[in-house]
Homo-oligomer: 360 residues x 2
């Protein structure tokens, strides 16, 4: 592994880029190297407010960032409709790509991005932070245990928040020309990823949108849900919304076990996160209770999940550079499956909640 930190360039001054800038600073193998915005004043202000070193490059365009030969990797938190253009351009300039979700408006767009990454030999990862928390690995271990959890039968995930009228009027996530997928692309992305994660990334056969999605006047989805079904009797449901109190739960039920958590997207606390599990739960004598009661498992972390994401991304980048290896394909595969389900939910909504076969 290279000793030199991976030098990040950031495209744009989105709010989420503040959190990721902090994460890049926290990750031991990454450094903040450049920021570009269409307004150099905004870029300058962003750099000074977000821990960029004095030596950092501040650019008045995105182009200048991807053109800088000393930028190793770009983080792209631009509106989704701009992802194809800038992700492809970055890949062509041999920049590794940490791409904010939703990664694309549809899988055709994502395929253009992934092809550009592949043909230019750059690492791809979507910025789904919770995947990198050590809690996630511990839960996955539980779900994979045939004795403690058994076969997965049902998953429910929900990610909602209620950002209020200013967001619902002005945020890019409710603008059809910027983030046309609305809450499905933003919050729903996490729910779908959670379900695929629980199902060990086996794609569902069919997706059926729940009735009653809500839209704004421009037709952007503000709330929706869907069921996902597999051939073997496994079923999942999710719900996502911009109109509902902050909620971020996953519940998984298996033949022998049960798992839940209530802060899957962003842990309530930064240094420790809980999940709850039970195995072989039974009614007590006379059905007067339940044995065992689900137990809480606390998982500590020295770095917040977003810094662990950056660290893992930078580790993969450094592996390629140092050893002439191929980029790790895992994240492209998972990202693409998530997008396929997003697309299927959207199609089902458009077709009046018909059951839709998931593409490939």
């Amino acid at each position: 592994m290279s000793e030199k930190p991976v030098r990040f360039g950031i495209l744009g001054c989105a709010n989420i880029a503040r959190k990721v800038s902090r994460a890049i600073n926290l990750a031991p193998n990454a450094s903040l190297y450049a920021i570009g915005s269409r307004s150099i004043d905004k870029a300058s202000k962003f750099a000074s407010e977000n821990g960029f070193p004095a030596s950092a490059k501040v650019y008045g365009s995105y182009e200048a960032v991807v053109d800088d030969p000393d930028v190793d990797a770009v983080y792209v938190p631009l509106p989704t409709s701009l992802h194809v253009k800038w992700a492809v351009l970055a890949a062509e300039k041999k920049k590794h790509l940490l791409l904010e979700k939703p990664v694309a408006l549809n899988v055709s767009e994502l395929d253009v991005i992934l092809k550009a990454c592949e043909s230019n030999g750059v690492q791809y990862m979507d910025a789904t932070m919770w995947m990198h928390h050590p809690r996630t690995a511990q839960m996955r271990e539980f779900l994979s245990d045939p004795q403690r959890f058994g076969q997965l039968k049902s998953v429910h995930s929900i990610f909602c928040y209620n950002p209020g009228p200013e967001f619902l009027t002005n945020d890019i996530r409710v603008k059809p020309d910027l983030d046309a997928l609305g809450s499905l692309g933003d919050a729903g992305w996490y729910c779908i990823r959670a379900i695929l994660w629980a199902a060990d990334y086996h794609l569902p056969e069919r997706v059926t949108a729940l009735p009653n999605p809500e839209f704004n006047n421009s037709g952007v989805i503000l709330s929706c849900g869907a069921s996902l079904s597999w051939a073997n009797g496994k079923i999942a449901t999710f719900y996502c919304s911009f109109l509902t109190n902050l909620t971020m739960d996953i519940t998984c039920a298996g033949t022998n076990g049960y798992l839940r958590l209530h802060d899957f997207v962003i842990p309530f606390q930064e240094n420790v996160a809980s999940f709850y599990e039970a195995s072989s739960s039974r009614f007590a004598t006379l059905s007067l209770g339940c044995e065992p009661i689900p137990s809480e498992h606390k998982v500590a972390t020295d770095l917040p999940q977003e810094a662990l994401m950056v660290r893992e991304f930078a580790r993969l980048v450094a592996s390629i550079g140092g050893n002439g290896l191929e980029p790790e394909k895992k994240w492209a595969v998972i990202s693409r499956k998530t997008q396929l389900v997003v697309d299927a939910v959207k199609a089902s909504i458009e077709r009046g909640f018909e059951s839709v076969v998931v593409g490939n």
Copy 2:
């Protein structure tokens, strides 16, 4: 209110009747008076094992129980297919009726039962125990608070258990001639009741079964789920199963609040039960957490929920007797709405997961 305890007769020696016998003994205004079984030996054994007083009547038929002029009320835990016959007969003999769920195979049958109760002036209640826990009233207060919870947007409920091969072969709940509704009538009843309770008993407009229900060789439902939708963008989903580890969660998301619990059917502990709530939850600065974290609320009870159910039922019975009042209609109304949704789920499954308008 009458000082004399309401004298209960029990029809049959079902397992659940053990728990309810204990509850009748615990309730201060009810007493175990008679037990009837097709086998007098079984009835006798049941009486001696379940705290019946020495003076209790032990009968070799159900008929003898409903014919006993000193029986005030009957508890009917018979297989669902026998409910109409025995519930109607009991009502005609002026016995108040505590009816185990599922109360009937369909709403037409239930209407026959309810009509018999009404025309004979007897009290009706379904034996859905968790409705009577003081926690349920406290949670309902939270859900009704426009500031703390706001408008209900989404509910998910799940009740599963995995009773194993002996149950799946021999239990009445998997026999098409006894409990044809299978897990939908048994576990699904609770999920549907939970959703209706959360929605303040507003019936959904439409019900759509989730794909992938599982059946046994006789066509009895072993697992299934559905979505319920209302005109105003409100949505609910549930899942019930005989093939999945014991799970009994409700999650409610409102515009301003969040509520969940994990033992809604049978509290983990008998004397205290928890629920979790949060209001106006927001991401913390830089989205580094969530404020406030949902808080646990513990609700103590001096009597277990099934004894509170018996006590409330006996109180209603005594009110009629003592004051010449009409029976309380609330439980008949709630029971009927639950049955209407059960019927709609079944119809949707039979019609290949079509969206079904809920009857009235």
